[in-house]
Structures are given as structure tokens and as C-alpha cells.
Symmetry: C2
Subunit: 621 residues, 2 copies
Amino acid sequence: MSKLFFVPTSEINRIKENISDNIALVGVLANIFRINTLSMIKEAGSGHVGTSFSCLDIMTWLFTKEMKADDVYFSSKGHDAPGLYAVLIGLGQLDYEFIHKLRRLNGLPGHPDVGTPHIQANTGSLGMGISKARGMAIANRLNGVSSKIFVLSGDGELQEGQIWESLQPTANGKFGEITLIVDHNKIQSDIFVKDVSDLGELEKKFAAFGWEVARCDGHDIAALKNIFEKFNIITDRPKVLIADTVKGKGVGLMEGERGFADGLYKFHSGAPSDEIYSVAITELIGKVNDTLRALNLDQLRLESNELMPRTSPTNPQRLVASFSDALVKLGEENENIVALDGDLALDCGLLPFKAKYPSRFIECGIAEQDMVSAAGGLALKGKLPIVNSFACFLSTRPNEQIYNNATEKTKIIYVGSLAGLLPSGPGHSHQSVRDVSILGSIPGLTMIQPSCETETALALEWAVKQNNSSSYLRLVSIPVAVPYQLPPDYVLTKGRGVKLIEGSQAIIFAYGPVMLAQAYQAAIKLKQEDGLSVAVINLPWLNEIDQAWLEEITAKFEKVFSIDDHYVKFGQGALLSQVLGKKITYLGLTEIPKCGWNDEVLAYHGLDAQGIAKTIRATLQ
Amino acid sequence: MSKLFFVPTSEINRIKENISDNIALVGVLANIFRINTLSMIKEAGSGHVGTSFSCLDIMTWLFTKEMKADDVYFSSKGHDAPGLYAVLIGLGQLDYEFIHKLRRLNGLPGHPDVGTPHIQANTGSLGMGISKARGMAIANRLNGVSSKIFVLSGDGELQEGQIWESLQPTANGKFGEITLIVDHNKIQSDIFVKDVSDLGELEKKFAAFGWEVARCDGHDIAALKNIFEKFNIITDRPKVLIADTVKGKGVGLMEGERGFADGLYKFHSGAPSDEIYSVAITELIGKVNDTLRALNLDQLRLESNELMPRTSPTNPQRLVASFSDALVKLGEENENIVALDGDLALDCGLLPFKAKYPSRFIECGIAEQDMVSAAGGLALKGKLPIVNSFACFLSTRPNEQIYNNATEKTKIIYVGSLAGLLPSGPGHSHQSVRDVSILGSIPGLTMIQPSCETETALALEWAVKQNNSSSYLRLVSIPVAVPYQLPPDYVLTKGRGVKLIEGSQAIIFAYGPVMLAQAYQAAIKLKQEDGLSVAVINLPWLNEIDQAWLEEITAKFEKVFSIDDHYVKFGQGALLSQVLGKKITYLGLTEIPKCGWNDEVLAYHGLDAQGIAKTIRATLQ
């Protein structure tokens, strides 16, 4: 199966014109938006299906029946962007052609961005929604504008401290114009919220913070209608609807518990397989057609297109898997090792450790500040905490907490996965390209980015066994086929790199599999096409460089290049320059990274082999 | 009056031996600790009196009667360190000689640090306490250790999201070994908590998060005793005591509402005047002696010493005051300007703006993440938010929120006061020496640090009127007498600095009044003592440097020096090097900054005029 089905706007308009009952209409539209959401995600190759489906009845009601022209809606969780795009496209607020542009360069970003028409706020990093809404409401009050603001949050998202930080001042300021809807689908990332970090008595909690609380089935359109009617007459306090929803709603095999296999929910992120797409799209189309038939309306006329086949890398390096194996092994040797997770146990490779050492695995939920300070407490009492999250969150949200731990001079290992420019599909909230600058100046925190599976295991071992102080491992999460190999006798030596290709005319410093692979291919290309001889160095040390080694290895080169999988400003290149005191040509990011397919984004930023070769060629000639 | 009074340990021991009633004993000891706390702060020249006094009855009860040998106590707010030190010294856990070492180099840091005996956690950055306690409790459980953990928090501190982030997992894990005591003195920094950001129904809130809640008068020792007894039999959930206390308790003129003048509480931080010290110490000594007399015990035998007179700078530059004036002026011209504060309105110079434009002043409380995201919402709706806090908090706690706003490409001005190494009395939690690296890589965020009052006003004006993107103003808060003046026709030009002294043999780049004053004096010194001719450049741009200008101004110099009021790693010097591609000698911080008097800390880090001159001399000769 490689045929994708989409519902065109003309069909949506036909249905809107022919169904007069609001409740029935919204139910049909929501399923039509599910069809388009699913096909968009399938075409994009990734995206969040489960959480888009759980809130589509709510979004459809809001956009078609509830919101006035000036009203604002945005999702704080942001994962549900594909669902929102399907709504906006379906209602003509976004051009239909965008339906084929999910997660593409100059298309629809993986998480919302205000660069897209009708997107009101950048989200994707969790917990910011209520605060942003209050800022908007204050501006409206100052401007004399009257408008309602609807914010959607996840339930896992309620573990973030900022949510609770923002609730009380929103109640104190009597922001009756703000309505929060909790898409309470009970599953966060891959497991049940109650098994990650139970939310406790949610209604009591919101009420204790001074909010008006209501609760209903988030797929019962009539119930939603009633609650928003009731909310409309309450103007002296903010309101929260806890909407009991089902993750994956609309497709049986994705719905809640039915979507689990091997203890994990399978439809949080990522595109469905061909088989599952086929079953799911058939079910959704069938549901819509059943309703149309009952109303004596014509069946859906669908557009379809062929899914372009995607290639995946051959024999790729999987750094997270290597980290995962090394962690289990070191956990056996060292009983003080404790692993902490922020609701990314699968993505961060922690499940084998969790299975083997359940008492030494601490699930903290989406609560990075709490996680890092808890690690601080563990370290003060002699444990060796290994703290995991995506690099974009780990380096930022608990930034002060990491520094606070560093001032205690305990030993902690931080592991930031999903580091660097790629994958570029999720967009800038998830592209961690600032972490070297953010954490690099902390005394006693050594940052390492391995280039392959072998070096990943060595890096963790170094951090556990050799480094007396704290470490930060920066891990690329995507599988990357690399054209180089480390020397068989390779040993990690603090501050020193290793030559992957010899050269005589120029030298490139890079780190991590993504940039090293491109640098290596650029060097080959320059040799073959231009006869230029360029050396490539893997320098995994991001904030510690051995000056004597650097001076020696660069001595014979007039031209030095640095490639950062990071902003150029305050990246590894800055440190190379600081230590070396020579002219360097910097490659890396100089603007907020683009969302898109990995290859198109690398090329856009001039960081694919061709772009790198071009820069080097221009500099050498 | 320059005589200070201290109660020696021998007297404390005498009283402990002679008062058998626990309640009475703790009451007397708490007042004795208040005497020592007050005198320590007076001798140090700064420290938090009000919040030390409000929790001294609680601390004294815990340390003398409640805690077993393995039990742990720490304060999450950390402000009350002088009170805690007085307790530890009084009970012989810290050497008595430390009583004269508050906020001194190698003495007792302004906020707690585990380098001090019996200090269990580094605090001072708020909200981390419960998380750290849970980490310690998990370690204890893994180690088979049974120990209770008592954490003290402030009430203003409860505005921090991390507090609420940490509550639910602590209840979920049934951490009955953890007891939180809220020192609910109703005043945060300078005004009432209810006027900053009301806490709402505190008991309901804690209960909704699954905690056992009790409440009592925090100065009623018998009531405290009863509650801890009750708590001791509850082991299946964490417990919180909301202790109603009085800020400044023990000295009438400091107690709660009586401590206010001109709408501000006067005894949050800073040493009391000679007159107030005299009245306060007399009252405290009188109270203790009254009790001793009633028990037929000898009056207190006090030690006393003379307070060394302190000099303050003559005709200093006050950058925050200059910012404050400029903000009011620009607020008149531009109605879109909105100022946001994180409970530091006095320290950040916001009171005049608040008084003049109350509807455009938004007090967010100690909730930096919420504040920054609210600013994001305001900016999305066309306002120009000016977001204020101490640099140490503003650059770290809402780091992801600042980046998120930057990705929306709105215009926001962040103002980080208390930036840099000085004042060094509060210790590393408050010394903001990482912010250039933390925020410097964000595209569209220009960082400026002015060197004097004039440049401060120019910098704000530039950020408001000329910069189309966002800015971060980094402000030194201490008054500094500077030996230089900007040229009368000085205009801020992005990326370019200005020469303060001509020179021919070497050139120093620095920024901000603290380092520029030292650099200037070093240049004079080198001229006079060594006949060396050293130019000094004020370069206020921290993350944008004009390459052509830099190359031109450094062209004739063989030796280039950079002085960072920041870690050397990823500071301005790194960027100078990146842009210039020449050898530079870096001065700045290479280790976690010391706490102490300003001059001794500058000297320790080699950043006073003498240290700078020494480095330059060694490099040039």
C-alpha cells in the first residue's frame, strides 16, 4: 500500500452545507480531519497521531462553532499540530496545498510556529501555554480588545512546574477570558500518565488554584457544547475543562489500551506502517460514509496520491542503543548508578536499564527541574545519577538546577539525546543547537559528543569511571550511516581528537555522526573533484580542548575549519579559536534552524557534504 | 555606635544546662541566636535579617529537640543562612570563629554551600528544596538508611513552579520521611506576598497534591512540638507545616507591618543602621535577660567587638537608577512599553515606573518562567515587554522560555540586574557569571552591558528605539566609582566599542563598570610603575562584534587582552577570538566564584587592578 487519501476542501464545504445539525456536523468533520491528519503524517513520515486524534473533536467544535473572529486558540502541548493543520486547511484558513507539506522545508513545521498563518504561538516545549495566554489577555485589556483565549494542554504536560506557576496569577488577575482545556487522554508518550507520574486529584488541584473546573467526555460534542455555554457566563475567573479523551480516538486499533504492544503505546509519534495506515484510513472513511449514508448524502469523494518511497540508511550507527547497552553493563558493575528519566524512557534508551534494575530507575515525568534537583540530592548522598532527557529540554528547563548541582561539586552524568540539527522534522523546539553554549561554561561539567556507537560506549565509561567531576553526553538520536571508523586502538583522551582522514591543505574539526559524516564526504569530494587534500578530525570534546595537541595537529595547516552541529556563536568553534588564536572558518548555524526533511535542512544550512565542500573550496581557492 | 555584641558558646552551654523545660529553653536560645544573627549581619554589612528571624524558633526547635543524628535539615529559600549559622555555631557544630566570617572569603557564604560543615545542600536559587530532599530520600532508601529530612521554604518561594512540580511525585512516592515547613511570614522581599502574587488557599493546595497539612503559629514552641509529634506517626505521605510567622520576629521595629516605611519592608536584606542595630540588640538582650531573671539565672555575658568602619565609593555610578529613569522617560514616549517584574521591583529600579504607569507594570512574583512566557504573549499582541530580574535567575530559570520567545521573532527587552562577579557577598547562586554564554547564541537577541549611567540610558534607548529585535541588558547593580568618562559625542554603535585610554603596546577589552574601572586603573599602574603603554577599550556588546572595527582597532597591537566579568569560557573573549582570529590573553573566571568582600574576591580571582596589571606585565615582558 502506498496510496494516500485526502479529503479535499470542496467535500468539506459540501458536507458543511448539507448537515444542519451542529453536533452531527462537528462529529463528521472531526473524522474527516482525522483522515487528513493521518494521511499528512503518513506522507511526512513522522508526526503525532495519537494526541492529534484525542483532541480533534474539541478543536473541531471550537473552530467551527465556538470561536468568534477575534478569539484565539492555541495548543500548549503542540504535539497535535497535524490535527490543527488539518482543521485549518479543512476550514480554508490554510491553503490546501500545505496538506502535502507537513514537516517539509517552507511547509508546516512539526510543532506550531507563528510563521504559519493562523498559528498564534510557538509551542512544543511544554507548559508555556497558560502564561502566554495571560500575556495576550493583558495586552488585550490594555488595548481595549475583548477576545476569548482558548488553550489546549496535554495531561502529561501538567507535570511541568510552569503550569502550576501560571495558574495562581491567572486566577488572581480574574482572567475569565482564558479557558484551558486539558486533553486528558491518560497516555503520555509511551505509557499511562498514572504509571509515569500520577496527576493526583486533578479537579481538586485546579479548584485549589482558584479556577472554575468542569469535566466531560471530550468526544461528546453535545457535552462540550454545554460546558462552553456554561463557561461563557463565568467571567470573573479562568476556566478549565478536563476533557476525558482517548488517545488515538477514531481508529480502533489506536484507541487507548488497544494501542499498546509490549507495554508501550505505539501511536504517540512516528508514521504508521503501510498496513496500519490502510486499516486505519479504511475505518475512518467508513465512519464518515456511514454517517453520510444515514443522512442520505453522497459518499466521500477522496483525492489520492502515491507515497514516494523513502530510503533509510544502510547499516547505520545507533548511538542511543549503544548508550543503552553500556548503561546496563555499567549498572551491573556500579550499584551506585541510578538512572533518572523525564518521560522519554523509550527514546532515551532507558527501558533495558529499567527492566534490569527497577529500583534504580526513577521516572520523574515531564518535570525536568524536579528531576535534576532530585539527582542533586541523590549525588549528595553518594549515588551516581544519570539524568536523561532530550538535549533541548535538559539543557534549558533545568539550567539553574544543573548549575546549582555543579556548585555542590558532586558527580552527575547528564545525557541529552536528540541533540543537534537533525532530526529536523519536529522543528526548532526540539532541535538542540544551543546546549554547548548554555552549559559549556559550567566549571566541572565536561561535555562530550560521540561520533559512533563505539565512542558512545567509551564516553559513558569515561564519564562513569575516569571523570571525577560531572559530564554531559550529547547524543545524536537518528540512525546515521557513517563512512569512517575509529582506529582500533582508540582511547578517549580529554581534550584531544582523532584524525579520520589525512590531509595537507586544510583541516576540519567536527563532532558527532551527522556532521562528521558530511565533513568526511566533503573531504572525499574535494579530493576527487578538486584534488584538494583536506584532513578531518573527530573532536568529541565540546568544552575542553588540549592546547598542546591542538597546536600540534594544526601546525602545518594554513586553513582551519570548524563545523558545529550547533550555532556557530559560542559553539565548539569558538573554543577552538579561543585556545588556538588563529583564523578559523566556521560552519554551523547562524539562524534559527529550519524544519524539513533531514537532507533538505542540512543543505539549506550549507551543512551537507556539498555545502561544506563549497565553503572549503571557496576559502582555499 | 560601632560596638557589636555576641553571645559566646560558653553562655549558650550554661543556659542549656540550667533550663530544663524544653519549651522555655528553645525560646531563650532562639533569641540568643537572633542576637548573634543580627550582629553577624551587622558585621558583614549585608544579609537577610527579617527572614532569619521569622524561622529561628522553628530552626532552634528542630536542631535542639527534634532531629536525630542522621536527620537532615536544610533551607530551600537559603536567605536565612545567617540564622542557620548562628544556630550551628551556638550548638558547637561550626567553630565559633566563624561568627566573624559571614560573607567573607573562606568564611560563611551569603547563601548556603555544602563546603561549610553541616550544610546539606546549596540553595539560594529558589524552589529546589523538595526535589533535593526526595533525591536524598531515594538514596537513603536504596542505601537502607532511615533518616528524616526537614526542608524549610519561604512563602514567596511557593510562587516558583518547581515547588508544585516536586509536590506530586513526593506524594506519589509516599515520602513520609520528608517534612516541609513553610516559613509563612507573609512578606517577600519588600512587600506583602498577597500584594505580589497571592498564594490563594495554601492548605487546600497542598492537600490537593496529596500532602498531610498542618498549620500553627511558628513562634509557639509548644504548638510546633505538638505538630512534629503528630507528624512522626504519619509515615505514608509527606507532611507540610504551614508555620504562621512574623518577618523580623523578635525585634519590635522589624516585625511585620511595623517594619514598613514608604510602602516597603525595610529589613529583607542589608545590614541595619547603627541606630537600629543599637535599639534591636538592646531589645533582644533585654528579652533574654528577662527570661533568665525570671528563672533566677545570671544575666547574659556578652562578647563585644568594634565594627570596622567601611568606606563606600565616592560619587559612584548607579546603573540601575539610570535604567530606572530612562525607563520612565521611554514609558512616556511609548505606550506599548510594559514592565514585568519577578519580585525584585525595588532592586531592579522599577518602582518609579510602577508608580507612574500602574496598569503597565506587571508583578509576576517569583515565577520567572511564567513571567517570560507572559512577556511572549504580550509581544505577540503588539506590546513591548521589558522583563526584569536578577541576571542569575533571568538567564537560567526561564531559559527555554526566552528561546521560545526568540523563535517567535517578537521584540522583547530583558534586563538582568545584579550581573557579574560583584557583589560577591550573596555567593555563587547570585553571582551571574554565565549569562553571556547561556543566552549569547540565541539569534536575534543582542546583549549589551553598559559601563556607566550614561551608557545605561543609551543602551535602553537603543533597545527600545533602534533595535528591531530583542535585547538583553546586563546591569551591574553595585555602585561603582569609575575613573573614566565616555566621549561627549559618544553614540552606541552595534558591535563597536570606544577607547577610554590610548596605548601602544597592548590593548585591553572589557565591559561594565567593575571590570573597566579595574582595567583602567591597571593601565595607569602599568604606565606609572613599568612605563608600559596599554589601551583600554569599553566594548559593551557581548555577543555581536563588528569585525572590521575590531581588526582596525587591534591592528597595531601585538598583545590583546580580554577581561570578562564572566567565565572565560564562552564569554566575550571567546567571541573576540572567534571574530579576530588572533592570540588573546583571557582574564575572567575559571572557577566557581568566591563569596566575600568585593575587593577580596576581585583580588582572589586576579581581577583587581593589581592582578590585571600583573597578568599584563607577565605577558608583555
